[in-house]
């Protein structure tokens, strides 16, 4: 359950930026390669947020699909499953461009 530790960290980040305001929404970017289970994260988030300025806030998760660029031919591919393969030449020597994100993008808050 790394979702619990991740949720804990998200709440800490949001609470710090809120600076006393009430947080209504947290926007999160999650790369597909992070193996985060959205339902487990949502559940953990709700739990951990209790008693903080983030309590009751909506957690909006945007999942980022995996893309990579081929070290051989330079073509970019959208990748759905392993092995990660270049759609042009079939090489598996790819540099992952997207899909490893895990960050808090923005917050919505209420100024009282």
């Amino acid at each position: 359950m790394h979702e619990l530790a991740i949720a804990d960290s998200i709440v800490q980040i949001a609470d710090r930026h809120a600076n006393g305001r009430r947080v209504t929404k947290v926007q999160l970017k999650v790369g597909h390669l992070r193996q985060v289970v959205p339902s487990a994260l949502a559940f953990s988030f709700e739990l951990v947020a209790q008693g903080t300025s983030v309590e009751g806030a909506e957690l909006e998760m945007e999942e980022v699909p995996v893309t990579g660029s081929c070290r051989g031919c330079g073509v970019e591919s959208r990748l759905k499953e392993f092995p990660l393969q270049c759609r042009a030449c079939g090489s598996d020597d790819l540099r992952v461009l997207e899909g490893e994100e895990l960050f808090v993008e923005s917050l919505e808050m209420e100024e009282v």
Binding site: M1, A5, H17, L28, F82, L107
Partner: protein, 225 residues
């Protein structure tokens, strides 16, 4: 009372705080000249058994130390105490989210009990779990994953996170190959699918197969220059 909604751009990595602490640990390791291995696996893959074999062979060759991460017990640390190497047990926080992995802060809390200056290599036995430990850097130089052939062939595809983050995969319990219908070639194919060409050693902590190769791997990287 009037409430105004505001939106604020944050762009902060969820693991930034942990990564910063891991970097602080790393600085401390570097200053002491200690090479640090983060040893990860599912529960029961054979991390402690391999450590026992390693400590036997490395005696007098490489000054090893061990940090044992465990949920509640000191059983693993007890198994290793007979080797009389620097050893510390860190029980992970039974509270929120702390049970399934070591993070940089937990490792930091164990370091005060270890004399890094007298150590060429520190092996950190992470908590047995196939997902969580891979997310949390602890300041290690390298990640070694132990995979037991009793876990089946398809795990790399189902849980790519840890396999992708490993620098070396020790495929353990190969003494059981003849008793199981584990397809080694298929497993290695799946492993290459998620982490192409990753180093691998076929090993058995039971028979000692591959342990010399693993010890050489460790010596090459961890011996004082």
């Amino acid at each position: 009372m009037h409430r105004t909604a505001v939106k604020q751009v944050v762009m902060e990595g969820v693991l930034d705080a942990n990564d910063a602490l891991a970097q602080a640990n790393r600085t401390q390791f570097d200053e002491a000249g200690t090479y640090v291995v983060n040893l990860m696996s599912s529960p029961g893959a054979g991390k402690t058994a391999l450590l026992e074999r390693t400590l036997e062979r490395m005696h007098g060759k490489l000054r090893l130390g061990v940090l044992e991460g465990d949920v509640q017990t000191t059983l693993d640390a007890d198994r290793l105490s007979r080797f009389h190497v620097p050893l510390v047990q860190v029980n992970t926080d039974p509270g929120f989210g702390g049970e399934c992995h070591l993070d940089a802060n937990m490792v930091r809390s164990g370091l005060s009990e270890l004399s890094l200056n007298d150590m060429d290599v520190l092996v950190i036995e992470n908590v047995g779990n196939l997902v969580c430990p891979a997310e949390f850097k602890v300041g290690e130089n390298t990640r070694v994953m132990v995979y037991s052939i009793t876990e089946g062939e398809e795990k790399p595809l189902k849980y790519p996170l840890m396999f992708r983050s490993a620098d070396l995969v020790l495929v353990n319990k190969v003494d059981l190959l003849e008793h199981l219908d584990f397809d080694l070639e298929q497993f290695l194919g799946y492993l290459d699918a998620v982490n192409p060409g990753v180093e691998r050693i076929l090993a058995s902590a039971r028979t000692g197969q591959g342990v010399d190769e693993w010890c050489s791997w460790l010596e090459e990287r961890g011996a004082p220059s």
